[in-house]
Amino acid sequence: MIRDKKIDRRTILKAGVAALGSSLSGLSWAAQDDILNLGIISQQTGTFAYAGEIVYKGAQLALEERDGKVLGKKINLLARDDEGKPAVGVRRVTEAIASDNMRFFLGNFSSAVGLAELEVARQERVLQYAAGGSEDFTGARCSPYTFQWSAHPYTALRATLDYVHKTLPDKKKIYTITADYAFGQSLLHYTQVVAKELGMELAGNDNHPSGERQFTQYFTKALSTRPDIILLLTAGADAVTAVRQFNSFGVKTVSLVGPWTLEVEQMRELSPAMLSGMILGLNYYQDIDTPVNKSFVERYLKANKSMPSYAAAYGYDSTRTLLLAMEKAKSVEVEAVIKTLEGMQFDSIFGPTRIDPRTHQTIRPYYVVQCKKPDAMKNEFDMATIVAHSDEQQPPALNECKRPA
């Protein structure tokens, strides 16, 4: 009868489900005592798609320095793609914690992803060493389990606008074009704060959605206010598009400044002619003159035939710092490592560095570079000169972190 036919099918179905399922469970890494799993959860697709591989490479260099071991345990890097999407990042972190016993992770490029992962880290009590330009990491959403490697947007804007103010004293009118997500809005907030401190005028602002392809409309609007400076408060592929399209206007009287906009990878996407003269703020540049950085750059160049950038430096430095903390704490337990990191003084690629015990902000400088003219470049990597740096920290009055001191 038909009923039996359905039962037959059902048996097959159940068997099918079981077969599918058992092959899945065989995939999980067995959690072993002498292995430490470090998650590199970064972007392989999307706006910052180049980043994932490079962060991984940076982390690998940190591992090589110590033969891939810490406290006698072998370190295993878990590479996962967060696709630049908060929900995917959350999912990857959750999966890795569940199947691979991951207790430490880093690698987010997008602030939104990092902030979503922050909640998971807090919920599951694992340590996150995040990056990204949103102030919420060390502000309103600060968490005992999350640390921030990138500079605070206040520091970034201060360093950049200080330089502009000093070297181009006549240029006071600023128009901002801002990325319409966490990171961009933080930059805008601190642009307003710093501009006020320096007496510069903000002529107007436009928010653009992520993945925006048509910046010509924003530039047209901006140029109609006759500004001295257009401040690009955006990053990644969006920033590249913006610079490219700005160039098509051929307007020489307006300076294009990007306080947190183009890292070296993106600079390479644009022709030197398009970049010439641009003032950029950077979290990292290869010419930073410290022994740790020099050694890092040399090894990275040798291993990858290319200069390291923000992504690589983040992967390297944050991993290195984590491992240093584990050694100092003589433990790989999350709580112990957190305690050690708070207030730890150490040498990083920035020189002497420490971490704020309350907000978990890594206290380090921010750099300003000026892009070189094409004929001034010594080689394909020599795109800019470091002209200034500053480590002015966010005024405590503006900080919204509610953790007790």
């Binding site: 009868m1 038909i2 009923r3 039996d4 036919k5 359905k6 037959d8 099918r9 059902r10 097959i12 179905l13 159940k14 099918g16 489900v17 079981a18 599918l20 399922g21 058992s22 899945l24 469970s25 995939l27 999980s28 392989q44 697709t45 996962r80 793609d81 999407k85 908060p86 929900a87 995917v88 959350v90 999912r91 959750t94 999966e95 569940a98 199947s99 939104a112 902030l115 979503a116 909640e119 998971v120 919920q123 319409d180 997500y181 966490a182 959605p209 992520s210």
Partner: protein, 323 residues
Amino acid sequence: MQRRSSTYLMSAVAAAVAVAAPFCMPINIATEILIFGVFALATYLLVSVAGLYSFGQAAFFGVGGYVAGYVFAHTALPLAAGLALAAAGAALAALVVGMMSIKRTGIYFMMLTFAFNQMIYYLAYTWRDVTGGEDGLGSIKRPDIEIPGLGTVDLSNHVNFYILAAVVFVAVFAALYQMMHSPLGLVLNAARQNARRTASLGYSVYRAQLLAFVVAGAASGVAGALFAMLYRIMPIDAIAWTNSGNAVFMVIIGGMSSIFGPVIGAAVFIWLQGFFSLIWARWPLLFGIFIILVVLFLKGGVIELFDRARHLIGRRAAQRGAP
């Protein structure tokens, strides 16, 4: 005409599968399969039974997810209230979209559902204050369930949450099966084969289809609500048209000839996605090839595969034909 099995029997099978699943795979994956199983079942009702090729179901999944997400992130309303609001919100959206789309036929209907999906997507994208825009709606809590007499069930526990998903899954499964074999279901079936004829026989095709659309919308909304609670974040992609396409794939991949089809399809899809996305960033390529192969060579989906396998192995099929 096939005599159908009783709803209780079918539901028992669904329950059995739901019980077996977590023993065969990580519980997160199993939960996700059940959630998308509900979503696929709703799509199945429209695509397979009613013949309404809706490429916009993600809109209702998303509305349900955002409503529940908002309720659980910002208010202290209990679980049942959140789920009910999600279903109601999604049903309302489905009613509005349905009223404007169902009068058109075939391709037009499909393009309209697609376009409405896009519109709702962009609304969610722009209404940042409520939906979180591109970053999604985070900080969603899983409220405890108070069962009078039994105490509190903590849904943070993965197993408990799975049980909730399983209960919802079996309930939706039973309801849809019942519906498909009710007079409404028969009208939908008939209308799929020949709408004009059915109408001329006196049945209101429009009303039947609209009702199915709203029911499917509500079910999709409930699936969305559970999804929001699964990872405690409601992402913007869940409401994008690619998710609608995924729902239709699940139905096709599983097989359109049986109500188990969408469930199998959901399992295959989630499994493929979960497995492949870990080993190769370009896994959508495999998925695309998979779809092409299914569409060209295995139109009946996995169920057809099972059928063929069975005949190959030579198992004696149960007696065919209806009494």
